[in-house]
């Protein structure tokens, strides 16, 4: 049986304009020798703060930007992105989808939910006739629990809550039957209980549809319940990686420990100590 298609970043480095970054006091390289593998069905978390390179990583792994010339490569199902022919690239684009932060910027405000999802269905030739396209749209909406689908399909983005918009983005990704979804700060802007709902949805989709996630976030506690494997990034490098349980219970790097300690608990006694350690 053929092994599932893996998305691999192998020793990837990416440098933006050296002078500018040096002037801002940042590292010259946005990504420095980063290797990460995502397999369908796995929940891989990448945790890092601003400037860690995590968003650059997302763009490189989506094939939106290229690594440096001698800066490693990204392969999907064994084929390097830089060497893919047109039809391979089209298949890559439908197999590896993304869900990004700020749904209000990602959704066309002048299109209904149906139009937004239908556009993608038609572009990737999942369905052609109106009946088939509508069926695909309704199916995608029901998968993400936006039911009754007829009501949500006719809504416009401004008529939806933050959590609902995020579900539309997920529906748009899932309608193409992807193997891998790269989510960059997909739940950061949401209220806590909405966050929980979206994370549970992502987890359910992973189990039901065997989708692999590259889940990028600055919020380490968010992934404590859902990730299988965690990479911690800082200044463009991976400083630590490991199975979720091991990393959370006994982190090896000081930086990981710092990240774990940085988030307060919703408990007055410990939160006060967190705020005023003396």
């Amino acid at each position: 049986m053929k092994s599932p298609p893996m998305l691999c970043a192998s020793h990837v480095s990416k440098t933006f304009s050296r002078k500018k970054r040096a002037a801002q006091g940042g590292p010259a390289k946005a990504l420095d020798d980063v290797s990460i593998t995502v397999t369908p069905g796995d929940f891989i978390a990448v945790v890092g703060e601003s400037g860690s390179g995590k968003s650059t990583l997302a763009r490189v792994m989506l094939g939106l930007i290229e690594p440096d010339e001698d800066g490693g490569s990204v392969t999907y199902d064994g084929v390097a992105l830089s060497e893919m022919k047109r039809d391979q690239l089209l298949r890559f684009r439908s197999s590896v989808q993304c869900v990004l932060q700020d749904p209000s910027a990602a959704l066309n405000p002048r299109k209904s939910v149906r139009q937004i999802i239908a556009e993608v269905v038609k572009l990737h030739r999942i369905a052609q006739t109106k009946a088939d396209v509508d069926a695909a749209v309704n199916h995608a909406l029901s998968i993400v629990d936006l039911v009754p689908t007829e009501i949500y399909a006719d809504r416009y983005p401004h008529q939806l809550s933050g959590g609902q918009r995020q579900r539309v983005l997920i529906a748009r990704a899932v309608v193409l039957n992807p193997s891998i979804i790269i989510a960059d700060e997909a739940v950061s802007a949401l209220d806590v209980s909405v966050k929980a709902g979206i994370l549970n949805l992502l987890n359910r989709l992973r189990l039901e549809l065997n989708i692999g996630y590259l889940f990028i976030t600055h919020d380490l506690p968010v992934v404590e319940k859902v990730a299988d494997y965690v990479y911690v990034m800082r200044d463009g490098r991976v400083v630590e990686h490991g199975k979720r349980a091991e990393l959370f219970i006994s982190p090896e790097s000081d930086y990981t420990r710092e990240l774990l300690a940085a988030a307060p608990e919703p408990d007055p006694e410990s939160a006060r100590r967190w705020l005023r350690p003396s």
């Binding site: 703060e49 601003s50 809550s161 933050g162 959590g163 209220d191 806590v192 209980s193 909405v194 966050k195 929980a196 709902g197 994370l199 549970n200 600055h218 919020d219 380490l220 506690p221 968010v222 404590e224 319940k225 859902v226 710092e258 990240l259 940085a262 988030a263 307060p264 608990e265 919703p266 408990d267 007055p268 939160a271 006060r272 967190w274 705020l275 005023r276």
Partner: protein, 304 residues
């Protein structure tokens, strides 16, 4: 302290007034708190002929030097409430504000423009979630803090006073930083500039609306610490609005919980976290705790 009121078993959409577990609300007395809000109601226009009742019958108090938190999720009305208190609601005939907002005994609802101008410049220092929507991109940060200082209540109007407030807000190398523009600063530093601007007014109360939500966790801790320290040093009151229960747990003495425009519960921080009464509060806490406690799955609130 009178017996704590038991909440009704009705859903949060219809808590009846008498059953609200409102603890810590001072009765009518000679000793009036710094900020006293009663029956505040705000209606905002949402379309050509539509309005939304964003804030319904809100009662809250903030005493001198007190740190009070308002928690609630998106759409709870917490931001509209504090904008009404700070005089930052849009100026429009269609914005309806009813009820009473008394600051130092003076009624603000229905007051004239000069009174509100006084509130904005001298009495309330506001800190927003997104500093760039507040800071003037074409003005050096030192000048913006100085402007706030000049318009505020402080009697000392000098560069050294500007530097003092910058240091209080935790900004390193203030002399150098004064000459920079907002775009040259990191997110955490911009937020500290907002804090310095708020402090420089020497206000009675600082109102912070999601001040650290957009910042990384490590930066958030440091910025909140600076805010906490400076509020202590100046003796100002703090009204902190956030959806982050952990932040409130760390910095506030008393908490109001808002849901769909109403306050559903209030009490000391200990009471809210260790002995929540209202179904919504319990649900919210359960959801937050499910991220880090031993439960197998994340809990999704019934009310989300």
């Amino acid at each position: 302290m009178s017996e704590r009121a038991r909440p009704s078993t009705a859903t949060p959409q219809s808590p009846s007034k008498g059953d609200q577990p409102i603890r810590g609300l001072k009765p009518e007395s000679l000793d009036e708190p710094l900020l006293r809000v009663r029956d505040l109601s705000v209606k905002l226009p949402t379309g050509p002929r539509q309005t939304v009742h964003a804030v319904r019958s809100v009662n809250l108090d903030v005493g001198r030097g007190e740190r009070v938190g308002i928690v609630g999720e998106s759409g709870s009305g917490k931001s509209v409430t504090v904008r009404a208190i700070s005089g930052l609601l849009p100026e429009s005939r269609r914005v309806e504000v009813n009820g009473s907002i008394r600051m130092e005994g003076e009624e603000l609802v229905g007051a004239g423009k000069n009174t509100w101008q006084d509130v904005r410049l001298k009495r309330v220092g506001m800190i927003f979630q997104d500093p760039m929507s507040f800071l003037n991109p074409t003005m050096k940060v030192g000048a913006q803090i100085r402007e706030s200082l000049d318009q505020g209540r402080s009697s000392e109007k000098s560069t050294s006073a500007t530097i003092k407030y910058m240091e209080m807000a935790g900004l390193a190398e203030p002399q150098k930083l004064m000459e920079e523009f907002p775009f040259q600063l990191s997110g955490g530093m911009r937020q500290r500039v907002l804090i310095a601007i708020a402090l420089a007014k020497c206000p009675d109360i600082i109102v912070a609306d999601e001040p650290t939500t957009a910042l990384d966790a490590t930066i958030q801790r440091r910025v909140l610490r600076s805010l906490d320290d400076s509020v202590s040093r100046l003796g100002t009151s703090l009204l902190l609005i956030t959806h982050d229960l952990a932040v409130v747990a760390g910095i506030c003495d008393r908490v109001y919980v808002m849901f769909r425009g109403e306050i559903v519960e209030s009490g000391t921080t200990e009471q809210i976290f260790y002995d929540p009464q209202h179904a919504y509060t319990k649900d919210l806490l359960r959801s937050v705790k499910s991220f880090t406690d031993g439960s197998a799955e994340l809990y999704v609130s019934k009310y989300s």
